[in-house]
Symmetry: C2
Subunit: 188 residues, 2 copies
Amino acid sequence: MGRWKPDARGRLTLGALELFAERGYEQTTAAEIAERAGVTERTFFRHFPDKREVLFMGAKHLQDRVVAAITAAPASMPPIDVVGVAMESAAELLEEDRDYARQRWAVIAATPSLRERELLKMASLSAACAEALRARGVAELPAGLAAETGVTIFKLSFERWVSDEPSGTFTECIRDALAQLKGMTAGA
Amino acid sequence: MGRWKPDARGRLTLGALELFAERGYEQTTAAEIAERAGVTERTFFRHFPDKREVLFMGAKHLQDRVVAAITAAPASMPPIDVVGVAMESAAELLEEDRDYARQRWAVIAATPSLRERELLKMASLSAACAEALRARGVAELPAGLAAETGVTIFKLSFERWVSDEPSGTFTECIRDALAQLKGMTAGA
């Protein structure tokens, strides 16, 4: 998502992030977001069912992208590397706008109900990954292990990438986390 | 937890599981649970703050046990094996009553709000494991990776163990899952 979006949807997203940061998520209404974006409340509801979805409507697109990457990976690739590549493709999407990702994350981290919502989205992502792996012929348990591991790597790498002192791009954080996990399990 | 508990708390727990299975979790009240257990509603609330906690009050004990096992593990043990041993100690606790674990899980699986609650408890368990690993001197990222991996193994092994055709005890499922994960990451 580009930082400057002249369209109503982009202005609503930016306005919502500003207001959530200034006043807190719970204290912000859809009407106030519309006002900040210079559109009517009706326009807000044409784009989003509620204020929460301003933060979460991208999750479906992200999940679809991850599943597509799993499906498209070479048949010979081991499941753990398939999820690694899939998470990199998700990272590329978010890397387009680190400021947005950071601001969104700050709001979520500060709001318990949103942290729960984010957990649910991650559980949904894991379930979708496991299903896509099983469709490649991976057995039940390894599919679950690889899917959960992929989401773990995605989450921990995201948190490193949006931290004040990231150790690289999101993609680099993902590669590093997977390499570290392999090192931890291989040595043991 | 023993299957037969003559005390009020045990009867309330069993009564709640029966009613949740018969009528659904949302449709069951604390008063009905008390009635089924042959105690007053006031007795119910002396033991549990609400009907949800009948299912989740054990989570704190489980988490404490896991953290204690991480803390007590030999200093030379690699983090991934420390969490493996810690999850085995949690499994031993639940193995005392597979029927209870199965019934509790069936109620949770059937109720979206409880699945969310379970996700939160697992996130809390992961955070507590990561903290206990850091206290052993494990760095931030490996602590997070090992903690999340431990919870993944716990969750997937639990689901295998409470399935209709478990492939062994909960502890055996955990050992097998960790071995499979090591195989997946070592070969890749």
